[in-house]
Symmetry: C2
Subunit: 343 residues, 2 copies
Amino acid sequence: MKRWTADQYIEGVLAGDRQSVSRAITLAESTLATDQAIARTVIQALSVAVHNRHSEGQEPGLPSQTHPKGLRVGLTGVPGVGKSTFIEVLGLQLAQAGQQVAVLAVDPSSQIGKGSLLGDKTRMEELSRSPNVFIRPSPTSGSLGGVTAHTREAILICEAAGFDVILVETVGVGQSEVAVRGLCDVFMLLMLPGAGDELQGMKRGIMEMADLLVITKAEANNKVAARLAQVGYQNALHLFPPPGSGQSVPVLLSSALDPDTIAEVWQAVLHWQTEAIRTGWWDKQRQHQQLQAFRQQLEARILDQFYSEHLAQVAQAEAQIRAGADVSTALGLVLPKSTYLSH
Amino acid sequence: MKRWTADQYIEGVLAGDRQSVSRAITLAESTLATDQAIARTVIQALSVAVHNRHSEGQEPGLPSQTHPKGLRVGLTGVPGVGKSTFIEVLGLQLAQAGQQVAVLAVDPSSQIGKGSLLGDKTRMEELSRSPNVFIRPSPTSGSLGGVTAHTREAILICEAAGFDVILVETVGVGQSEVAVRGLCDVFMLLMLPGAGDELQGMKRGIMEMADLLVITKAEANNKVAARLAQVGYQNALHLFPPPGSGQSVPVLLSSALDPDTIAEVWQAVLHWQTEAIRTGWWDKQRQHQQLQAFRQQLEARILDQFYSEHLAQVAQAEAQIRAGADVSTALGLVLPKSTYLSH
């Protein structure tokens, strides 16, 4: 594949070209130094472009009344809850209504196995054939911090390409949810009916981050269990501190066999968005996320710079640890020599 | 309370004095600059002392045959699984056998609620009265990174004070488990029988990190369910990649009503340790953890230093974001001015 210049990436993405979006995301994920230099230029240009587009879109008197493009929807739930099916049905509905939909999957996966919990990507087959839809599987490896940065860039690229809705799917294993929550406008937790552990501790932290709870597979034999679960979760939510948005968290029933239920979930998302814009939460949260992104990128750059300038000392200190030195001694080998760490 | 000098902390801890241990942990958790300066001296001295003690303890020909002091046991499980009861029974058994036992609890807790999932600390009442036992509740707040650093320091302080066993308890919510796993020699996952979700996704990542699985409340009516769960987990473990230790993961049944079952779990831990020392995994893992600690402390120090020197620029960039600037522009305000980030 012929190398592209930064301008080719930028122009392609801004024109909404799918191949450019795909290649730009791959570029941003690349660990090659030459790719990273181009990626930085591309990301910066797209960041400014998206930002200017947002500013222009705001009417002077009514900055909070317009629905901005690029609604970022986080979506999580344990394997088996039916995330792929839910996304497939929802994505097709949005695509048929003329919306441009991007689906990004995040899975830092197990620290050990490195296998993907998301399974093979033959899922969402029908959705992937829709011309209005772009599906991007997970970056397959890397630290949580790295995956977070890559997901943030992928969202930005999709936004620059003009996608109306960006669905960010994450597996419900606890590590990546906090990260994805911090990148999205609205966060949806999918749950199974009748799991019998409505207040189970593992889910509590994730439940507290959710703006909407959706009970899946609420169909046939499951209907009674789903209603019971709905009441159970509604009661459980009263025990939690109210979310920052100030909006109460709806608990909705859904079934892929009844697409109307999924359309209703989407209506609830849009209602949540309208309210969030009205109350000012929308702007407040986006600003908070911008500040977080700033800190994370700043720190990543500082550490990159440090390691590139102190490669030899760090390697030497690590060799000392392998040879039996303690951590404090090893730190002493790196820190005093560094001009900007002397006190 | 009168302020202590670094030497008072160091001497007190090395003498095994409980009050000194408690105060040293509080010092290490303090955010006051004066405390941090003393804490750094204390931690460094204790780190060297523990390290020298380890080196001296090793017989020249048989470095891997001696059981080192300070076995670090990580222990997790969802709320309600019976962690406190398990620790109470195990801790009393160890204390009665003359072992010095420290119990540290880690709970970065919810990002939003900041409440402690560990509940009130009237738990473990009998254990807390044993003279051989030291119990330290969780640091109540802070980022996961901060909690990790504090837990590492608390473990070091307990080790310097001569504790034979350090039990590190963490709530099973997924965020802190990876961190605690990286600080401990052996990691135990407590599970309920008959939860009916043996292969449930949320637990999978944690299950992969466990060296031992312990099914709790295997008593009376639960016995059949517990045996079934045991078989279920044993089968499930075959689906996972083998752990780095090379040892198979035992699935044990326990009941606080039958202390012998908990003594058997401890025998399994000691067996695991003997094997890990024999195969070299013990040294390999500790070295890996030392390297991790080095990197984490190095990066924390570099960032601290950066922020202390660039407070004004960072504040200015953040003000720009609040006023509507994009992240790339804000980064430009901080990075080029910094001498060590110019290219």
